[in-house]
Symmetry: C2
Subunit: 293 residues, 2 copies
């Protein structure tokens, strides 16, 4: 069974250390301590197949550091970059991620989400005052109103609606206007306050494709660091294959068979659509649907 | 199968309407439009077994409104309260929630999380400027840097570690110091950036109880509006029943058998522990473990 992309990081997050400045100080002073090589939000050297790390003692640090945790006992840090650009995705970045082993991609996801969150959350949402980093980079505290702020993780449901069973089963795939030409994927949307996962899945499928599902089943999850989502992959069943496509969200959507999904995942010439990339959980979802559902 | 608490709201969130001021204006002008009766964050009258609603045209509105959606075609709003108290939980509140049907509790959860988020997020985290409500109450926009901010939903994993199988199976329950006397529940913790659900479950069980789990399985989810969590309930298996309790998180934790869990859920005299309340997903988790796992 293939693990979803960005999972399998070898990081021990050492959460308890974050609360103790002396412990964090000792980790930072460790002669073996490592700093993640980043150019803005880009993982330097990742296209060669591994994250790059530099000994902390060999670099001059001009910004604050966040403690990522330890790998094989060695402390790992990333530099916070208050002015880092919010450029979210480039072909170079996705080539680099594709080249990384899953464990390194997971470590990068953690670092990227954290650095990006700090860059866009320098002020207190409660009172507007500039905040200060605390807990070794895992929060920001307000010196004025004393509110504490923690990195966001935004849950997103990503799902297939399935019509029919067995060999006759079909699922809905759709494409957003920003997708590369030919690519189709699972539908997705942000879960809102006051919803369960199952309710968000049903709502999004209704809104985007006009499909009513029941028997929603959870399949897998992954972090998605653009900027910091938790992708929650599900399948729901429907008894009605009529589609009403919300054109503000989707450029197109249609039903596909098992044979068509298999052809797409195999990148066969003449396949009806191009699949999502392997590191996206939509790819995991389509693969598992073929084998498990 | 019992649905988790706070799920089953009859709200149609009418997401598409939020983007169209004319549509929201028409809903607000609807003579049947209703406003949720709230005293701060308390649902007025809920202890009588239903949420209270007042016709919008009968009240003087001095604050902004958020569009909750429609129920049975009737628009439903809640008043935003910039200065609302952050008192989080009172016995009166939990009595009221217990009295509500699940569908009303779910609608209340949505309203409460939204009102509370606005009250604590009046300023732009990116630049410190006071922000303005937009999208019919489902976001805040910064007039200075144009950043858009959306209500937070914080994913939390809540889980059982199971040792042994069948009739010999046992699970870990623990108590936080703030729990009512005698109450034990599933362990829980916030999911962090860069983690999957399965990874967060394994990390939290390791941190809080020293238990290493494999084969993590998703069971159910619920919204938890204190202030705005998504509770994700799972079970993991372990081959080692040694416990190393993190006393900064837990006052106590121990293994319990099926018989002990059944006695607790039935509130039998002499039961080894008092269970979590029925509207908490930990209750759902324990109940389903008895019948399904």
């Amino acid at each position: 069974m293939t693990l979803p992309g960005f999972t399998g990081s070898l990081l021990d997050r050492a959460d308890e250390a974050r609360h103790d400045e002396a412990v964090v100080g000792a980790m930072r002073a460790d002669p073996d301590a490592l700093l993640l090589d980043m150019d803005g939000l880009h993982p330097i050297g990742a296209e060669q197949g591994a994250l790059g790390w530099t000994r902390l003692r060999h670099v001059t640090i001009e910004t604050e550091l966040a403690l990522l945790g330890t790998i094989e006992g060695t402390p790992r840090f990333v530099a916070l970059q208050p002015g880092v650009s919010a450029v979210r995705r480039t072909p170079e970045l996705f080539a680099a991620i594709t080249a990384l082993p899953a464990s390194d991609a997971g470590t990068y996801a953690t670092a990227r989400s954290l650095v990006d969150w700090h860059a866009r959350h320098g002020f207190c949402a409660n009172c507007g005052t500039a905040t200060l980093v605390f807990r070794a980079g895992w929060g920001r505290a307000c010196p004025a109103c004393h509110a504490q702020h923690f990195p966001r993780v935004d849950p997103v449901v990503i799902m297939l609606a399935q019509h029919g069973r067995g060999a006759d089963a079909r699922i809905v795939v759709g494409r957003q206007p920003a997708f590369p030409p030919g690519r189709y994927s699972a539908l997705a949307g942000f879960l809102e306050p006051g919803e369960s996962i199952e309710e968000a899945v049903a709502r999004e499928l209704k809104e985007e494709a006009g499909v009513t599902v029941h028997s929603v089943r959870y399949l897998a999850s992954q972090p998605w660091p653009f900027p910091s989502q938790l992708m929650i992959a599900c399948i729901g069943l429907t008894d009605d294959d009529a589609l009403t496509i919300d054109r503000t969200e989707l450029e197109e959507a249609f039903w596909v068979t098992r044979t068509e999904v298999a052809a797409a995942l195999a990148h066969e010439p003449g396949a009806r659509f191009l699949p999502p990339p392997p590191y996206a959980i939509a790819h995991t979802l389509l693969s598992r649907w073929l084998t498990e559902a």
